[in-house]
Every structure is written in C-alpha cells, then in structure tokens.
C-alpha cells in the first residue's frame, strides 16, 4: 500500500463517524518514524497488545470496537512494518487475517433467520481482548506487589559453629553429562552460541595456569613451571596450547627476552 497517498485521502475527508461524531484528524499516534518502528514493535507483547493500544489510545470502548476502523489501522501498521522489511511475527499476520475476516463478515448482508443464532463476529475478538487485558493488569499488579530483595529484605543473624553437618546431595557423573547434552542440543539451535570443541585437557591446563599464576608471589613464571618432566612431550604440548589460548583470550601476557630463551608468563592486570 502506498502510505503517503493513502494518508492524503484520509485527511481530506472525515475519516469516520465514531459514535455519531465525525473523525477528521488522523490519530497522531498512527504515524511513526520508520526508525522508531522497530522499537515500537518491541514494546508490544503481540497482536492483542497492539490492538488494545489502538483501542485505548483513542478512548474507544472495548465492548464496542469499531472493527472496521481498528482493522484498517492495524493493517496499516502491518504494512508499514512489511514495507520496512521487518521480520514480523506470524501472530501479527494471523490477527490481520482474523480482523479481515470479521470485517468481511460484518459487511455481508445478514439473512433475517440467521440473526438469532449467529454470534456477532466481533464477540470472539472482544472476548480475547478482554481476557488479555485482565491478565495484563494482573501482571502489573504482580509487578507492583512488594517483592523480596526489591521491597523487602530478610533479617538474618549468622550461626557461628565449627561445622554444621549440612548434608549434601549425591550426584552421578552421568547426570552432569546429561545436563550438558541438554545444553548443547539447545545451544545448537542458535548458531551464535557456537560451543568450541576444544580438547578438555587444554581447558584444564588453562585453569591450572591461571590458578598457579594467581597463587604465585612472583611477577612472572617460566613456561616450565606449568608442566612436569613426567608429563613428557604431551604435557609440554598441552601447556603450550593452553598458553596460546589464554593469550588469545587476553588473560595472560607472554614475554620472551630473546629468541630461543625461556618463555615467561604473567597474568594481565589492568
């Protein structure tokens, strides 16, 4: 839809008669600068929320929504969003279709004998809007209730005894592996949560190096302090890889006085 020409047409003639009163002005809130639209859409919790906003903002009665008018405004938003090629949640389109359906059903002439048993096509929508609105309010109420660590604080006193036999639960390694499998599978769905498939022994060595550096009173430690002769060539390689990794993550600094001399490691401190 070409929005600008559409606006012009709308502005020249009374837009609508709402409860008998002509409506000349385009609601101010209808036009939104394109760059604000994205922010705007994010502030809505879905199509029902957007509809409620449209209704409330014009002081319309939820029980007597002018469906045609609201439908039109709603669809205008959707068009604006689509023109901007914003990714639109499917729910918004479903609502647009539902509104269009209500609109078309209301336009159809009714046969006299249907009138009794056929429900007003707006009823279902109004029910949904009302239902949503009451929970929206309930959510605000819950948010306003006094809450621990925001409005209320526990008053405690420390129990000082040598040792409480606080029993701790037993767990099996398998349980942890299962938990991790679960995280992995979940994370795999999102490409940006790439989990690096590194060799664990390198990760472990990274921890050890940081630990040793943290506990050491020396400013620098030599490469050799991080593995023992017993670990052989493997130990040296793992240590070397761990140091490269820590270096890459900016956690340590590596210093070498001259070529082929010993490599010194120091933790990065701001």
């Amino acid at each position: 839809m070409d929005n600008s020409s559409n606006h012009e047409v709308l502005i020249q003639q009374p837009l609508a008669l709402v409860e008998g009163k002509p409506y000349k002005d385009l609601p101010e809130d209808l036009y939104i600068p394109p760059d604000a639209l994205e922010v705007f859409l994010e502030t809505f919790e879905g199509p029902l929320d957007l509809l409620l906003y449209l209704i409330k903002h014009q002081n319309l009665d939820i029980l007597d929504i002018p469906v045609l008018k609201i439908t039109q405004q709603y669809i205008e938003y959707i068009n604006l969003m689509q023109n901007l090629r914003m990714e639109l949640a499917a729910e918004y389109l479903v609502m647009a279709a539902m509104l269009a359906e209500i609109k078309s059903r209301m336009l159809l002439p009714k046969k006299a004998d249907d009138l009794e048993d056929e429900e007003d096509p707006r009823a279902e929508l109004i029910r949904k809007l009302q239902e949503y609105e009451r929970f929206k309010r309930a959510a605000d109420d819950i948010d306003a209730m006094p809450r621990l660590y925001r409005d209320n604080y526990l008053a405690t006193a420390k129990l000082v005894i040598d040792k409480i036999d606080k029993p701790v639960p037993d767990i099996e390694l398998e349980t942890i592996l299962l938990a991790f499998q679960d995280v992995l599978r979940r994370a795999e769905k999102f490409s940006h949560h790439q989990i690096q498939r590194e060799v664990l022994s390198v990760r472990e060595r990274m921890s050890t190096i940081l630990l040793v550096l943290g506990e050491s009173t020396e400013e620098f430690l030599g490469f050799h302090s991080f593995f023992t002769a017993k670990e052989g060539r493997g130990g040296a390689v793992v240590t070397f890889l761990a140091i490269l990794e820590l270096c890459k993550e900016g956690l340590i600094e590596v210093i070498q006085g001259e070529p082929l001399s010993d490599v010194w490691i120091k933790p990065v401190i701001e």
């Binding site: 003639q13 007597d64 336009l107």
Partner: protein, 195 residues
C-alpha cells in the same frame, strides 16, 4: 525465656521461612514444645519487634524475619546492583499461571496471543516460582504449570487468595455495528453501499 530465644535464634539463622513444625524440630523430642506454645511465643516475638527495625511475618511456607519496609530505601543502598526488572512477557506469563493454574503452555499462548518463549518458562522455573505439577491428558500430554510456595514467599503472600483480585470480565452486549459509516477510502466498498 529460653524457649522463646531458641525459636527467635532459629528464625534469625534460617535463610528461609520456618513452619511451626520445623521450629518444633529444633528441640529434642523430650522437650519439644506444643504447637500452641510455639504459636504463642511467635506472637510474643512479633510484639517485641514493634519498636524495632524488623518484623516477624508469616508467608506461605512459614515465618521469617524481615526488615520493616519503611527502612527498605536505606537498606537497598547496601547493594550496588539494582534489583532485576522482569519483562512484561514474563510477568504476563506468571500472572496467567498464578490465576489460571494449572495451565498449559497452549493456554498461556491463547490468552496472550503470542508464543511463549521457552526461556521465560525456564526462568520462572529457575526462580522456583513455577513448576510442572502434571500433564494434561490431551494429545501431546502438555505440562501443567502451577505456582509454588516459593512464589508466594517471594511476594509476601500466605495463599493464592491473597493475590490482588483479577478484573472481572464485562458482559459482551454488542450493539449492531456502530461503525457502519466508516469511509475506508481504499477502494473497499463502504458500508453505506452494502447495507
């Protein structure tokens, strides 16, 4: 005096609310006080607190000491980070579960008109505000969510009945369409022409 102090000390040391039964449990069987006695002592402790900075309140899972809320604004300065703000999606989901429990995810989505993200349910479960209490016997056996005692404790409530009342639904009594005069201006035949 000793009884009362032991109860008071237990309430101060526990980091969570203590029920009457849990309070009885700190005594050895032979000198375990009666429930009425414990209740009476709790009342006394509550009165002792009147002029002080703290109060002993009852929440869903028992009694706990908390700082009187008139002092919260000072106490809050002890922590640098601001308390977490929960988003509307989370609060709406929580509200639907609290008032409509047990509720399935589908029922929550029906009310909100949008998909409920798994993250929100997860966060609610991790806060221990919501848990699965069973499965609905319909195809797919969706989980049924309900709020927990911890939820009530967190919000200083004793029972669900203490929640603020849910707005009542108004009767839908539709008048014949009022917006028949709408001029759509977009080529759609106007109502005037139709009716």
């Amino acid at each position: 005096m000793e009884l009362k102090n032991i109860i008071e000390a237990s309430l101060f040391a526990a980091n969570e609310p203590l029920s009457i039964v849990e309070l009885q449990g700190v005594f050895l069987l032979e000198d375990r006080p009666d429930k009425h006695v414990v209740r009476e002592l709790i009342k006394e402790i509550q009165e002792d607190c009147l002029p002080r900075s703290i109060e002993l309140v009852e929440v869903a899972s028992g009694y706990r000491f908390q700082v009187k809320s008139i002092y919260s604004s000072w106490v809050a300065r002890l922590w640098e980070e601001k308390p977490v703000k929960y988003g509307r999606a989370l609060l709406e989901t929580l509200a639907i579960i609290a008032y409509q429990q047990p509720a399935t995810r589908g029922e929550i989505e029906d009310v909100r008109g949008v998909a409920v993200s798994t993250n929100i349910i997860r966060t609610l479960q991790e806060r221990e505000w919501v848990r699965v209490i069973g499965h609905k016997e319909v195809p797919g056996r969706p989980a049924l969510y309900a709020t927990t005692k911890e939820f009530l404790d967190y919000f200083n409530l004793q029972t669900l009945a203490d929640l603020p009342p849910l707005a009542t639904l108004l009767d839908i009594d539709l008048q014949p369409s009022t917006d028949v005069q709408l001029n759509l201006g977009d080529g759609t035949p106007t109502d005037k022409e139709v009716i």
